[in-house]
């Protein structure tokens, strides 16, 4: 419908082929363009844009347990969210999580890449070992972290270690004012993701011309100075991309929070990152409120759009230089 209307308009104004102004040719070209992209664009419209528009509509209604609401509440759902302590806490949870996981993963992935860089043998083996967790799901990783590594019982791996050192076992996932669960969540995501970003840094390091290092060596640059004044500046584009990807991915954290903290009694009131909050209010705990869920989605979409725009802005500034 929109596609059928767009095609003739576009072909009528085809100015990019002045040497061959044949209208039939232009029309056939347009037909081929639409033949190739229609499945993708139609899917995008039906499963991304119409749903988002619909959600925008729902966000102005009282949509408890329904997708065809009748009670208009204006900005009520947004007002509810901005005054809901649990929603504000979820943003706080994201900020705390991001402040830890982004710099930590960044430093560790760069460190691993540097450690691997230019070693004479077994590079492929070590790279694979660090990259392998990428193939593991958050569900299975959460199972290992929750049930074996950080099991609060005495037989947990870390508690056995603590007892061997003469220390008391820790109830890692007790929660409440016991903040040890952050160690569980951060170490899990670090393990699973660091290899991915290490691969990006390795590609960045390999793209640096070795002659730059030779020139630096001739000028007497050594050790840390080479890293500080040669490697790091030349990794600028990679570094920005990694930092922004880490931030955007941290914002979408769901799987490991849900699978390490959810219990038979439900999800605890703390440590709810934004997606967990929206999930619980839309589908969990008998609330099923798609109006507030939609309003939450709109807010989160805006936040992530800002992140993405900042990212492309920083990258394009870098490209101008």
């Amino acid at each position: 419908m929109t596609t059928a209307q767009a095609a003739p308009t576009a072909s009528g104004r085809l100015r990019r082929t002045p040497t061959r102004p044949g209208n039939a040719l232009a029309r056939s070209r347009n037909r081929w363009f639409w033949a190739f992209v229609t499945p993708f664009l139609a899917g995008l419209v039906v499963f991304v844009y119409i749903p988002i528009a619909w959600s925008l509509y729902l966000s102005f209604f009282d949509a408890r347990n329904t997708v065809t609401p009748t009670k208009f509440v204006g900005l009520g759902n947004y007002a509810y969210l901005l005054s809901d302590q649990l929603f504000l806490n979820s943003m706080g949870t994201f900020i705390v999580f991001a402040l830890v996981i982004v710099p930590l993963t960044f430093a560790c992935s760069l460190g691993l890449a540097l450690l691997l860089h230019k070693i004479p043998v077994m590079q492929a083996f070590f790279r694979s070992a660090f990259f392998l967790p990428t193939a593991c799901s958050y569900v299975v990783a959460s199972m290992v972290w929750r049930m074996s590594f950080f099991n609060g019982a005495r037989f947990g791996m870390f508690n056995t270690g603590l007892r061997a050192l003469g220390l008391d076992p820790v109830n890692w996932l007790e929660g409440g004012s016991n903040y040890w669960y952050w160690v569980v969540l951060v170490s899990l995501r670090l393990w699973l993701q660091v290899g991915f970003y290490m691969v990006l840094f390795i590609a960045g390091l390999n793209a640096i011309d070795p002659q730059v290092y030779e020139a630096a060596a001739i000028d007497g640059a050594r050790g840390f100075n080479v890293f500080r004044y040669i490697t790091l500046p030349l990794l600028r584009a990679t570094s920005i991309a990694v930092a922004m990807l880490l931030l955007i991915n941290a914002f979408q954290a769901f799987d490991e929070f849900y699978n390490t903290l959810n219990t038979v009694r439900g999800y605890p009131p703390y440590a709810r990152p934004p997606l967990v909050y929206v999930y619980l209010i839309s589908f969990g705990e008998g609330s099923q409120d798609l109006g507030i869920g939609s309003a939450g989605t709109m807010i989160l979409t805006m936040v992530i759009l800002v992140f993405s725009l900042v990212q492309s802005r920083i990258l394009s500034i870098g490209a101008d230089k």
Partner: protein, 293 residues
């Protein structure tokens, strides 16, 4: 090869500077790498240890490093255990992951080619829309997608699990970037031989882009096999659960048994690990291209 050469040069170079390369520094690096590799592989070992142990061995007063129940008993028990329902879940996961991977690659490949080859106003507009869509990951918009799918009546169906995930702006953009650099001469030669765009695409362009197909396919397969949030929402009927959802629900149920659960986990990670081991080269290429597009 170029990396190899660069490596060789680097070693010689650092040998002259004396800070990196051979000598005690290199040994320390290998020591650190070995310790880290052991730590990184530990979770996989723990899965295997638990899968081949008995419940009492795992929950013994202190940590046991070695398993105590080798053999296929645990495998047979987990497959027969209706509490986890691993077998049915594996079937669902396999159907979803394979169809979603094939569908995503085909749709993204065609879309990417359309966006790369035609430069009409509509094509530029569509490229802009694709880039804009990239900025909002579909994970964030799961509520709208759920509303759509439930309206279509696709809850607890393969359609609901598979179809909404087929339209990846990300994969399409990756294919577009690679097709922009595709040598035009090859396509023109095919056109002179009388092949239309459709035939040229499938006979010339696709067979010459198998590296990109492998890269996108590998990333998509691992992503869909490991997906959790979307199947959690859609697979409300226990018979439609994917293996990740089945494991997750078993983990938070009462009276869980460790050996069965971790045997389920071992079976669940096997396909992704196999794909990883055999297609790692393409995965690395896909990650590099997707991260630094």
């Amino acid at each position: 090869m170029t990396a190899q050469q660069a490596g060789a040069r680097g070693v010689r170079l650092s040998g002259s500077s004396g800070r990196r390369g051979r000598g005690p520094g290199l040994w320390l690096r290998y020591l650190a790498l070995t310790v880290l590799a052991v730590a990184f592989l530990m979770p996989f070992y723990v899965i295997a240890r638990n899968a081949f142990s008995t419940q009492s061995w795992i929950t013994a007063a202190s940590w046991n490093w070695l398993p105590n129940a080798f053999g296929v008993d645990n495998v047979a028990r987990v497959l027969a255990d209706p509490g986890i329902g691993v077998l049915a879940a594996l079937g669902t996961s396999a159907v979803v992951a394979v169809l979603q991977t094939v569908g995503t690659v085909v749709i993204a490949m065609m879309g990417g080619y359309g966006l790369a080859r035609w430069t009409t106003r509509a094509a530029r507009w569509a490229t802009g829309l694709t880039v804009f869509t990239l900025m909002v990951p579909t994970t964030v918009t799961f509520v709208p997608m759920f509303v759509m799918v439930s309206t279509l009546g696709w809850i607890s169906t393969f359609r609901g699990l598979i179809i909404p995930g087929l339209f990846s702006a990300f994969a399409t953009y990756l294919f577009r970037s690679s097709f922009v650099d595709f040598p035009r001469e090859l396509e023109e030669a095919a056109a002179i031989d009388g092949a239309g765009p459709w035939r040229t695409f499938w006979r010339i362009v696709v067979p010459n882009s198998m590296g990109m197909v492998a890269a996108v396919g590998t990333i998509t397969f691992i992503g869909t096999w490991n997906a959790f949030l979307w199947p959690l929402l859609i697979a409300q009927d226990p018979g439609m659960r994917t293996v990740q959802v089945a494991l997750s629900q078993y983990m938070t149920s009462q009276g869980i048994r460790y050996p069965e659960m971790f045997m389920g986990a071992l079976i669940a990670i096997a396909p992704a690990l196999v794909v990883f081991v055999f297609l790692q080269r393409w995965l690395v290429q896909g990650v590099t291209q997707s991260g630094l597009k």
